[in-house]
Amino acid sequence: MSSGPGTTVAEEPREAKAESRNRVALVIGAGSVKCAAALGLQKVLAREGIGVDMVVGCSGGSLYAALIALGIPVETAEEMTRRLWTRELTKKRHYASLLRAMLPQVFPFQESFGLVDDRLILERLKVAFGGRTFEEARIPLFLTATDFHNGEQVVFSSGSLVDAIRASIAIPYVFRPWKVGDRLFVDGFLCDPMPVGVAIKHGANVIVTLGFESPYQGRVTSVLRFAFQLSSIMSNNLLRANYAFHNLAHHTEILPIIPQFRERISLFDTDKIPYVIEEGERAAERELPYLRRLLSSTGE
């Protein structure tokens, strides 16, 4: 359920401030633990003195977008997410949902369906972000989720961070959709796994993106894995289609940062976060020369 009365959805966001003609956006798309690479990217940008005018996050990327926008140091952010995103999150089943799925004639099915008991993730989000709001962010922050009833992309830019992140990470079948106000939300990746359009809409010209395709199942051995496989197929095609459109529609530059992982990173490989951050840093360093030239040519 929605928390405080301060929560607003799809409200007109605060305008991102730009100190020069460049308006740099950092867009962190879906990708669970891999999104920690954003901390490596942010490390490089901070070290090089490259300011970010807005941060956009979606799904797993919403966690890191919020941490970066709040100005939390990389080391602290790494520690926070290692404590927050662990395998225990999915250990406890949401039995009511299971019963409603298996015996709908006895226990009527409800749209707030999710196989995992989501109380732990909510508790951890509250520990990590407390009562913090978008208004406390040092950099304008936009987090996306999907309206469950009409598929619309909804951009959160004010109110409770916990509500917005919980909505943005409502992984289908796993976590129950999340209600904010009178709307029910599912994971932001379902409408756009890499919400570049939000940055374009809010006036960014140089858009640095970091996002990942959903992994395909090695072996499909259960109904849930079958559902995940279909979800990956659809979301990956959606990612490419939207990314193509945004690349062609944008008037300046979209710079993809693509970390190269030598090993498979699974949903809860929290212990690999330091390695993921390193790869994010390496990938950002590869694009740094061009980013510098671009900013100096399009800046003041």
Partner: protein
């Protein structure tokens, strides 16, 4: 960015060296346009030495491929490095552009 032009029978091979991005896109479009304007619309972009492409680079490729096709030809890519191919795939370009392992295969595709 360095651009080298070479004729191979009915095909014009445009070898590009460097990044295809916002700083170089206009130069690349002009080079391709000159070839198409001169009657050489069958183009192969040799990307052996291209290490990066951004959205502006993708728009340059798209503009060229549309121009070439309108003039009865095509732009086909050859020897694309994995990091550049990844961007082409992510942005859906591999669904509209033909990509070949090397220049010879791309050139041969025009006469096949």
């Amino acid at each position: 960015m360095q651009i080298t032009i070479e004729k191979k029978e009915i095909v014009t091979v445009v070898s590009i060296e460097g990044s295809v991005d916002g700083m170089t896109a206009a130069h690349l479009i002009a080079a391709f346009r000159e070839q198409i304007g001169g009657g050489s619309a069958r183009l192969v972009g040799d990307l052996t030495s291209v290490d990066y492409t951004s959205s502006a680079g993708l728009r340059a490729l798209l503009e060229t491929v549309k121009d070439a096709r309108q003039h009865g030809g095509d732009l086909r890519l050859a020897a694309v490095r994995p990091e550049v191919l990844r961007v082409l795939e992510l942005s859906g370009f591999t669904s509209i552009l033909q990509v070949f392992v090397d220049v010879d295969a791309a050139v041969a595709s025009f006469t096949a």
